[in-house]
Symmetry: C2
Subunit: 230 residues, 2 copies
DNA sequence: ACCTGAACACCGTTCAAGT
DNA sequence: ACCTGAACACCGTTCAAGT
């Protein structure tokens, strides 16, 4: 009996194995340890074997992002806009923190795969069904996603050590603030107790609340404008 | 007469030349074309000559960032908080857009040099002297800077082609939206006219206004709380 | 004091060859 | 159909040597 294409040759490499192993590698060793040669070694195979399943390194990286992002747990689609966007923002941040090296690298890499589209679609849904205009919806999701990605990308290198990168060295940071000339940086010096815990979950909440407050203000404005036209 | 250290040997390499040439290289050829070998060639020197002025590539990159950031034009320090932060945000964005490859790379790289400190100090100043609490000031500047850097970093690869990277390919993007299954992505499809001009200056304004509105809300709240205590 | 040359341990990828 | 080996054109950096 002839073996069917899927069932036979359990020993052979397969694209999803390659991508999954690449994601593990990135999380364990850091983004710049993701080399074709290193990945091949982990799969017990010669470097060139990978090129049977992936056209080049760039495509492999895209696939790694898509795999990681597809794991996101989107909130209940029937939430109203404010709890919905709040939960969405936290879900994105949580996902990124599970893959610190990707959190940094995702900026500057336009990821337009299905996973990203599903995330945006969720945001569009809760805003539009809550009465936001199309312009405010597009702008709002854009701002929200930018904030979450930006915040997390700036947070990660300051908290976790990514790959072989330097440890957080909080003491060095403190002495930097201590040595600051108070005449040139009076406010920075006086704010030191606030600034020291440079990136905290509370600051994420603070910014997110500020942002949602701003959106609420926008929603009120357009409602007022609508009722005045009546 | 013995030549003084600064005046003599005009032919010799000097650290500021190395860093300046590195910045030019990055802007002309892209961030990943910044290699010690490539830089050395542009300076008409052998690669190892650079290590006399810079301890390694990492330090060189830090110096390149510091040089670029030190060019920022800070707004009038006597502005009140809202015009001050608005102008600060635009100044940061403008500077980053002058160095597209750096705009992308600055995320995930904690830049704590004098230039960054001056930027933060300006923001702290206008907020505190306008009555914001220390917590709101720290959170506010953090959020603002995060938004500006995040937005610009996401914007650049979609507008300019950075180094040898792919051109913007707007047509590909449009066909991607055209092929989207309308039952799975109803809102994304309906928003297509908004989403298409994916990252625009208007969207930057939209997000910035939202953010400043949120901060204004916060300032009102703390003022109300203060007057109630009286 | 500053620059050089050769070398080491790495990269991604091409190409012709094996099974 | 899938994997291999050798090779090419690159990296950052060390080390001993030149002037």
């Amino acid at each position: 009996m002839k073996p069917t294409p899927q069932s036979a040759q359990a020993k052979t490499l397969d694209r999803s194995q390659v991508v999954a192993e690449a994601l593990h590698l990135v999380n364990q060793e850091g983004f710049d340890r993701l080399t074709m040669r290193n990945l091949a070694a982990r799969l017990g195979v010669v470097p060139m074997a990978l090129y049977r399943h992936v056209t080049n390194k760039e495509e492999l990286i895209d696939a790694v992002f898509e795999l990681a992002l597809s794991d996101i747990k989107l909130p209940d689609p029937d939430l109203t806009w404010r709890p919905g966007l709040d939960a969405l923002a936290r879900a994105i941040r949580e996902l990124l923190l599970e893959h610190p090296p990707l959190a940094v690298e995702v900026v500057g890499r336009p990821t337009l795969g299905p996973a990203s589209l599903r995330i945006a679609e969720y945001g569009y849904r809760v805003m539009r069904t809550s009465g936001f205009s199309d312009i405010d919806t597009n702008g709002g999701i854009n701002t929200l996603v930018t904030y979450v990605i930006g915040f997390t990308a700036l947070e990660v290198p300051r908290r976790h050590s990514v790959g072989a990168n330097p440890p957080p060295d909080l003491s060095k940071l403190q002495s930097l603030y201590a040595d600051l000339p108070a005449d040139q940086f009076p406010h920075t010096v006086q704010l030191q107790p606030q600034v020291e815990g440079l990136v905290t979950p509370e600051q994420f909440d603070h910014g997110l609340t500020t942002l949602l407050d701003g959106l609420e203000h926008r929603l009120q404005d357009s409602k007022n404008a609508a009722s005045q036209c009546r």
